[in-house]
Every structure is written in structure tokens, then in C-alpha cells.
Symmetry: C2
Subunit: 360 residues, 2 copies
């Protein structure tokens, strides 16, 4: 079997795949209502929140777009923090919809500096919202969201979080950290196929929503809320992914949040130590390294494209390359979701074997 | 087994369900590229077009939003024809994004009148685009899209078509009828679960796109085109639905377009005749009645909610009620996708048995 170790889609357990392959049902019927009413409170447990949670049919990026268009108006000043490809994407979405985006960029591989966020908010009282990436998939960095959100809340700003590749795998207590809109997606630590974005919406976000003038139809939160009261979604949902998520959430709750976080921390430690023991360098400083994705710098002699090809063809191990400016310079191991120690060892063994062949 | 006879999601053949339940793969890898490059030309065959076709992860409504935001600018004058719930939705999307929408409404149950479209276009030369519903799911009406599009093209207008519940089941030669953006969705006649909207984009639509200023990120056609060149999608796609669609398209092409259309026409005839033979009235005049959905008026004595409940609980037959102003007044049989004569007979038998119990 292929070892799919990219940062999503992640492999699905057989129980989930079985559910995914179920025959269709009426999305306006009783059974679907039962499913969405079963899933939603379980997601709240995973998000550690009492906020509303909506399941939007789309990719995670759709959830990011939803976070922006539901809470902001054209011309609103937004502080977009970014330390990688997905931070930049969040800023770009804001710009496309007419926000006045102040970009606060950090070198790829470094985290967002909370002090710099404080300075930026001090310097411009007109800023309405802060965009933050919880776990920057492109560089394998986990930002100090707790501190960033605390500072943003100190200045009474709205906190919009792309937690797509972190939530459910790395501790992110949405209410304790006062995050207003938090986005994740089904194909990450949730162990189900892509097709659903899950978003939480705080009371403060609802207040912003009431005044937000960016155009929205498909992603509209009010519409999602109204339909959820009937046990439905505004438009035809990705029913199969709902089937899978219902099963996966039960597995996750049975394992327990803290155990899931500890498992991901342990696996990440194995991946990082493995890379270092091969003489490779991590992209981020280790204290900021993500527990879901390990980004590894290739030495000058290592051909990343060749490495990835050999891993896949000769060992059935599928890793990810670099994105944007890191393309060809790094490779990434995804270790989130349905994965254990044995899997990491298999990946590391394969890398060890392949490196000599992929080096010049 | 449940007889799911709503206008989507439709039941999936076992071969499709098996594919849907496949393990995940890398959406940036070689196999996914092969799948999207296999699916796209087959969809072109089904759309009867040489235009670009994109697969967008989302509901059909997302595809409608994509059609609007990719081709129009705020302030553009748009003629929104509507004879039901989904025609109204198309108009609303235009309004939300700032188009100056001229609504051309027809009584629910009646079709859009091509002559009225001609008059409206004659009366206002500033109109840029015409929004049309091919097959109005809420009333079971198929519009004369051929004539409407011919008139719109005579006046050199852009033709944006919601063909969600018709395309692939009812003849719609996109190129011959000169339709610029045509939208459908996976859970209809395509026999796969919801999660993908499929849209075709004409050269004229691309020209409009180049000037279109409505904000868009997730639904952007340029982005879809650039990624498709690499055999990818801009954001993580609903991989499982791609797996299913690959199988379903092969089944459809093996059956053949004309045979599929003929089968749907035959099944619709059976449904209509069955309803009439019970003394029930169709919502539309028969010459406009859809070949994918039969909408039936309830007599004053018939309790629709009770009818639907009895059908489901006692016969395992799931039909749809009415939407919007037709709620409680009509019921609808979906007969699109993976369905044969036996299924229609079973539905009609069940209705016959249940009507006395559901009547006062």
C-alpha cells in the first residue's frame, strides 16, 4: 500500500472509506439532519468551542474566503500576518475583496512574531481584523497563535484564523484563545477525503458579520445558520464526506483530544530527529516546528524532484515538495491524521535509502 | 433498498460507490493528473462542446456563483429570466455581487417565454448578459434554451446557463446553442455524489472574463485554467468525487448520449402518464415538462407532507416536496441518472397505494 505522507489529503481509515462509499440519501431528509446534528457538537468538542460551527462544501481555501467575506467590508483595514504560502493566500483573498490589507510578512521558515503584531496594531488604530495562519503548511511552522490572538484581543481586533492543517491535530482551544473565525478542512487531521471546510464563528464575528458588506452568497454564514436550524445546509452538501466525518469524529473522540495532540507531537519528534540524524536541516527552528508537517531543507547536492520520484516509485512513499519560493529547495513529510510510529519509521527508512541515489 | 427519487442527490451505481470509497491519493501527483485529463475531454463530449471545462469543488450553486463573478462587473446590466426557485437564485447571486439585475419573471410552472426575452433585449440595449435556467428543478419545467440562447446571441449578449439538473440527461448541445457559461453538478444525472460543479467557458465568456471586475478568488476561472494545464486544481479538490465521476462518465459514454436522452424522455413519459392516470395534474403544461423531474400538483384533499412520509416509511420511496411558494402544494419525482422503468413503476405503485391514506 502507498504511504501517502503529504500534508493532505491524508489516508483514511477503512471504517471511514466504508462510510464514504455509502449510497446517497436525501440531504433535506431526517437522516441527514441526524448526521449534521451529531457531527456539529462533536466538532465543537474538537474545536474546544461553544461558538457556532458550519460545514461548508468546498476546499479549505473556500473556508478562508468565507472567513473574510462574512466579517469584513471593502475598505476595511486588515493586518495580514504571513510566514509562508498560505499566509500570503489569506492576504490575497482580503485584497481581492477590497480590504485595505497591511501585510506583515516574515521570512519563510520563521514564525510570525507576536511583538511585531503588537507594534503594527499600536501603529494603526484603524485596523479591524488580524489574519493569522495557525500552522503554515508550506514551511512546517506552527505560529504562536495563543500570543498573537491575545494581543489582537487586547486591541479589540477580530481574529480570523486559517487553522486548516493544524486544528484537530495540534492544540487550539478556540474559546480560551478567543479566536473569532477558525477554519479547517476535512482532508487534514480529520482523516476524511477533501470536500468540506469547517468554520467556527464567535459572537464577536457575528457582530462584525451584521455590518460586513463584502458580497457573499455561497459562503454566507447567515444562510448556513438558518439552514442548520432545520438540520440542513443552504446548498447540496458533499454527503459522502459527511458520512466519513461522522465515523472519523467518533474515532477521534474515542482516542481523546489530548492523546491525539500527544501522538502528533511524538510522531513529529520522530520525523525531526530522523531528518537530523541523516544530517539534514529542518526549515524552521525546532521550537516552531509543526507537529503535523516536517519541512526539511535539501542540501545543495540533493535533487528534490529525483528524491520524491524515487521515494514514490521504489518505496511507495509519497511526500510533498516545496511551494512557491521553496520549490525544489525543500521537501515535506505530512504526519497528521491516521498515522502511527511505524509509518514514520517506514518513511525515514525510505528517505535514508534513497538519498544517495538522489544526490550528485 | 431505499428508492431515492429526489432531483439529486441521485443514487449511485455500485461501480461508482466502489470508486468513491477508494483510498486518497496526492492531488498534486501523476495519478490525479491522469484522472482530470481523462475526465475533462469526456465531459466535453457530454456537454457537446469544445469550450474549456472546469471541475470546481462545491455545490452547483457555487458553479452559478462562478458563472456570474467570472464574467461580470458590478453595475453591469443583466437580464435574469426566472420561472422558479432556481431562476430566482441566479438573479439573487447577480444582485449580491452588484449587477444591475433586470428580472424577467414568469409564473411558477410556466416556462420562460423567448419572445419576452426578445422584447426585453430590444427595450434595453445596455444589457450585457442573460441568465437562464435550463431545467427549473422547482417546477419540473424545461425551458426552450435553444430559442432563448439564439435570441440572446442575435443581440450579442453573454448567455449564462444554470443547467444543473438537466445537462447530461436532456439534450443541451452547448456549442450548437452558443451558450457561454454552462453549469451542472455531480449529484444530478451524472450518478455521483455531490461535491463537484462542472462549468464550461466559451471564448466569448473568456473575453468577458478578461474585463470582469466582480471579486473572485476561490471560483476564479483563470486560476482553474492555469492549474488544469498542470493536471491540477487551484485548491484541494473533492478527490473521491473525481474517482466516482471517472467511472460514471465511462458508463454514460458506453450508453451513448442519444440513448441517455431517450431513456430519460421515456421515464419522464411513464411518470407523467402515471400521475395523470391517478387523476393528478402536472405542474407545467406537458410540452414544457422536464425529462428529469416530474412536478405534480396535489389536489386540495391531499396532504403532501403525509404523502411523502407514508411513501418513505411504508414503501422506502423518497420523493421531494415543493420549494418556496409551492411548498405543501406539489410533490416531485426525480428520474435522472441511474434509473430505469422498473424504478418508475415502483414509485407510481407506491403513490397509488398511499394516496387514499394521505387524503382527507
Amino acid at each position: 500500500m502507498q504511504q501517502l505522507r503529504i500534508p493532505g489529503p491524508t489516508p483514511c481509515p477503512p471504517e471511514v472509506l466504508k462510510a464514504i462509499g455509502r449510497q446517497m440519501i436525501n440531504h433535506r431528509g431526517k437522516e441527514f439532519a441526524e448526521i449534521i446534528r451529531d457531527i456539529t457538537p462533536k466538532l465543537k468538542e474538537m474545536f474546544q468551542t461553544k461558538n457556532d460551527i458550519f460545514l461548508l462544501t468546498g476546499s479549505g481555501t473556500g473556508g478562508m474566503e468565507a472567513a473574510v467575506v462574512n466579517t469584513l467590508s471593502p475598505g476595511d483595514k486588515v493586518l495580514a500576518t504571513s510566514c509562508g504560502f498560505f499566509g500570503d493566500r489569506f492576504a490575497e483573498i482580503g485584497e481581492v475583496y477590497g480590504a485595505e490589507v497591511k501585510r506583515l510578512n516574515f521570512e519563510w521558515g520563521k514564525p510570525v512574531d507576536p511583538d511585531a503584531v503588537r507594534q503594527a496594531l499600536k501603529a494603526d488604530s484603524g485596523i479591524k481584523a488580524v489574519l493569522v495562519t495557525h500552522n503554515e503548511t508550506s514551511t512546517g511552522v506552527t505560529n504562536d497563535l495563543k500570543s498573537i490572538s491575545a494581543i489582537a484581543n487586547e486591541f479589540d481586533k477580530l481574529v480570523l484564523v486559517d487553522a486548516i492543517s493544524g486544528l484537530g491535530s495540534i492544540d487550539l482551544p478556540v474559546d480560551a484563545w478567543q479566536c473569532d473565525v477558525v477554519v479547517t478542512a476535512s482532508q487534514k487531521g480529520w482523516m476524511v477525503p477533501p470536500g468540506l471546510a469547517m468554520v467556527s464563528v464567535s459572537e464577536k464575528a457575528w457582530q462584525a458579520h451584521a455590518k460586513a458588506k463584502m458580497p457573499r452568497y455561497y459562503w454566507d454564514f447567515t444562510s448556513a445558520k438558518n439552514y442548520l436550524e432545520k438540520g440542513q445546509t443552504p446548498t447540496t452538501p458533499a454527503v459522502s464526506v459527511f458520512f466519513g466525518l461522522a465515523v472519523a469524529l467518533d474515532m477521534m473522540l474515542a482516542e481523546g483530544l489530548q492523546n491525539i495532540f500527544a501522538r502528533h507531537a511524538k510522531l513529529a519528534g520522530l520525523a525531526r530527529n530522523g531528518a537530523k540524524s541523516m544530517g539534514l536541516t529542518l526549515v524552521p527552528e525546532e521550537r516552531y516546528a509543526s507537529n503535523t508537517i516536517t519541512a526539511i531543507r535539501a542540501s545543495d547536492k540533493l535533487n528534490v524532484a529525483k528524491l520524491l520520484q524515487l521515494l514514490e516509485n521504489e518505496h511507495g512513499v509519497v511526500l510533498a515538495g516545496g511551494q512557491g519560493s521553496l520549490s525544489g529547495k525543500i521537501f515535506r513529510i505530512g504526519h497528521l491524521g491516521w498515522i502511527g510510529e511505524k509509518d514514520i519509521k517506514q518513511v525515514l527508512d525510505a528517505i535514508t535509502k534513497v538519498i544517495p541515489q538522489a544526490s550528485s
